[in-house]
């Protein structure tokens, strides 16, 4: 078997080694360890197999003419690279490096020649020893590691000697450094059912080895490591070790899932009990609520997130948390049968502007979340105390239901604005207003296209070009152009609040038709 010198030097057991001179891409087939001073080695070295790496077991005390003669003899005998003890001792000078270049011989400094010769031999002889040793080491660590997934990953990575990456079933990086490209992600997705490790060549000339991680619940995750491409023995060893590691990680993931489910069930139960008992909740219930961090005697704004497709609410809870954290919204999240109930609490009654700011923040958080989990979101009004919390969550749930039919608001409905809108709509459903509204918006209809819809979304989003662009999935310049066009066509100034009100009412009325 042969391997490139550079690949051999990348094996963890040989990572202290470094190329001192010559070509790192030289092919190595054999390893030859020789003890004694350079003269002794040179005299004895008559013939070596082609592509041999000669390891000088004893440290070289002087890189003088004897070493030069050795390099010459070694090259004549068929040696392609010479490794010497490079730690603690003296190093060859530029002259030795120049001669190595001239003889097309690679010079490698290794910390411990004896150990290096053994590791090199194992890599090239394709024995099972490195694989067994690696798997054994990983198994030991896997058994001894604690329940924490991250900690276990870190310990396994140390044992393996290569960076370890945890990927979700779709190949997205959950923990670690390796990022898969789309092609390799597709390969992972299709090879999931086999349950066998897969080897994926990367553009960076490495080999990505991924082993499936089964937890017994949900889709498989992947545990992956990158290694130099041209070392089949190392690839097999790492694949075997990854399978062992994936058992350990699968176990930790199942444990973590168990804890998450228990916590989720407890929170859900607590909220259900609260809903059932307000306003006469027993003090014991309030105490339990406080214990999990709920401040019942405060002002609350309820939020309800309902995924439009089936979703694992326990596994995806982290994504929801992250979405809120990204907007710095401090919320309590409780898993529900479908989706999540959440609320924001504050000790003082929030002002109208604070509510509006909160609504905007939540809308942004949910827009970000929607790329991962398509969902309808409703926000309730501000309510005080435990009873208020239950009421606001109820309003939020109603709003979320309404949001399901409101693509123009980004499937997002705030109950405060909902109330006003319903009120206004009730006022405008008259025989006199409807024709007026039609006439007002007629120029937009004549042009056709999305101008009327754009106007509706623009007005619904508080005359925000950015928000409109996000909802319509357009570039903000496009939206700005359309608004300008609308103003020209209608001959109005949308900066004028009264104009906006009239147009808003008109768009709403015609939408209800």
């Amino acid at each position: 078997m042969s391997a490139q010198l550079s690949d051999l030097l990348a094996v963890p057991a040989l990572q202290g080694a470094r190329l001192f001179a010559g070509d790192a891409h030289v092919d190595i087939r054999h390893v030859l360890g020789r003890a004694g001073n350079p003269r002794r080695v040179a005299v004895d070295l008559v013939y070596a197999e082609p592509d041999t790496l000669l390891v000088l077991i004893d440290p070289v005390d002087r890189f003088d003419t004897r070493f030069d003669v050795l390099l010459r003899r070694a090259r004549q005998a068929g040696v392609a690279a010479v490794a010497f003890a490079g730690e603690g001792g003296i190093l060859p000078g530029p002259g030795s490096a120049a001669l190595a270049h001239r003889l097309q011989l690679a010079l490698v400094a290794v910390p411990d020649p004896w150990e290096a010769s053994i590791h090199l031999h194992e890599q090239l002889a394709a024995t099972d020893a490195p694989a067994v040793r690696l798997t054994w080491r990983v198994a030991e660590v896997g058994l001894a590691a604690g329940p924490d997934v991250g900690e276990t990953l870190r310990l396994l990575q140390d044992a393996l000697g290569y960076p370890l990456t945890l990927l979700d079933p779709t190949g997205r990086t959950v923990a670690g450094v390796a990022e898969l490209d789309d092609a390799n992600r597709a390969v992972l997705a299709t090879s999931a059912p086999s349950g066998r490790p897969v080897q994926l060549p990367t553009v960076a000339s490495t080999l990505l080895i991924a082993a499936p991680v089964g937890t017994g619940i949900g889709a498989r995750a992947w545990l992956a490591s990158e290694i130099p491409r041209r070392l089949p023995a190392e690839a097999d060893a790492v694949a075997g070790a990854l399978q062992t590691a994936s058992i350990a990680i699968g176990h930790r993931l199942a444990l973590a899932r168990l804890v998450d489910e228990r916590d989720a069930r407890y929170r859900t139960g607590l909220l259900d009990e609260l809903r059932a008992t307000v306003p006469t909740s027993p003090p014991e219930l309030a105490q339990r609520a406080i214990a999990v961090g709920w401040r019942l005697d405060a002002w609350h704004v309820g939020i309800r997130i309902v995924p439009r497709n089936a979703a694992d609410v326990i596994a995806l809870r982290r994504d929801v948390e992250r979405a809120f954290q990204a907007e710095r919204i401090g919320v309590q999240i409780v898993e529900q049968d479908s989706g999540w109930a959440a609320w924001v609490s504050s000790v003082a009654e929030p002002s109208v502007s604070a509510i509006r700011a909160l609504s905007d923040d939540v809308r942004r958080a949910m827009t970000a979340l929607r790329s991962r989990i398509p969902s309808n979101v409703g926000i309730g009004s501000v309510q005080a105390g435990a009873q208020g919390l239950v009421r606001s969550l109820g309003e939020a749930a109603d709003a979320a239901r309404l949001a399901a039919n409101r693509p123009e608001t980004g499937y997002f409905v705030h109950i405060d604005t909902l109330g006003l809108a319903q009120l206004l709509l009730a006022w405008t459903q008259t025989d006199t207003f409807l024709p007026a509204a039609r006439e007002l918006l007629a120029p937009l209809n004549r042009v056709g296209g999305d101008l009327r819809h754009t106007l509706a979304v623009y007005l619904d989003s508080g005359a925000s070009v950015t928000e409109t662009a996000a909802i319509l999935d357009l570039h903000r310049n496009t939206v700005a152009n359309r608004i300008a066009q609308i103003q020209r066509l209608l001959g109005v100034d949308l900066g004028d609040p009264e104009t906006r009100l009239a147009l808003h009412l008109a768009t709403r009325t015609l939408n209800e038709e």
Partner: protein
Amino acid sequence: MGASVRAPLSELRGSDVDALASGAAILGCGGGGDVGLLLPALRMRGPDFAIPLEPLDGGLRFFTAVTFLGSTTVLAEKPPGGTELPSAVSAVERWTGRAAQAVVPAQIGGLTALGAALLADASGLPLLDADLVGRATPRLDQLSIFARQKPELTAAIITSSGLTVVVDARSPAELESALRGAVANTGGWAAFALGPLPLAQLREDMIAGSVSRALAIGRVAEAAGAPLADAVRVVGGAVVARGRVLDVERHGDPLSFVHGTASLADAESGAVARLEMGSEYHYLVVDGEPAASVPDIISVLDARTRAPISTDELRPGTDVAVLVLPAAPLWHSDDAFLRRADPRFYGIDADPVPWAAS
């Protein structure tokens, strides 16, 4: 050129001194002391002076061998006054009661050649066209007359501080260690005289024609115009390596013979050569292949000026040519000689690489 076919010289003239200095410097093999220290004294004698140069097979009965011992760097800081060598010869003459009839440089390499000429001139004695090593060597017990015979070992040194020491030794090694110790403790260098010794008894173990050879080599090296490689072929040598010095590593132990190693790379051919050196250059390897060794003469010249570079002056970045000249045939004629000057004598674990001029 014709230097090598010239008939044996009968005298050393004022016009010869520059060539003698130049040849002696090359035969110094990187050691032997700076000929420039004594050359001005010889030049001052003008072009017209002449020192009789006697062949070994002349009728003279007793000769004295002279040289300088000790540190050549101290010698450069405290140059000789000119009276040291005559005083040393007087001391051994007084002690033995014999008068020297001729002077021979103990080593032709380095400044001893000029010292012996100055001594001959000052004392009116003829200079023997010979020496006892044919190059430069670091130790007294390497002198050729000690290899197969046991001549009487009476020697005197006049140290740079003016001290006179006369030694009757039982062995060359004893002589070496006794004088070396005395020199180290009394000023750093000393003028040395051995003898007077019977020429008839030792003639066979001396190196004949050394002064003529130094002159011939000096003329070749000084000849402007001709490429060095062609020029040295006339005297049986060759330029074996050339190039820029890549590294010079000097080991910490000044008492060992091999003080350091230096490498050079030839930008044209790509060849990488390495020198092993102590107070002289001992061993030369080209592309990992042994190319030359002691007792043959390995000399490093500045590629541009052709000035010999001593081992302690060799610096990375210098463009040099490495010249190899055959040793005096005596060294390879008998193992008794060879083992006093082969690589192993200098602590290099390698066989000698006999020089075969192409």
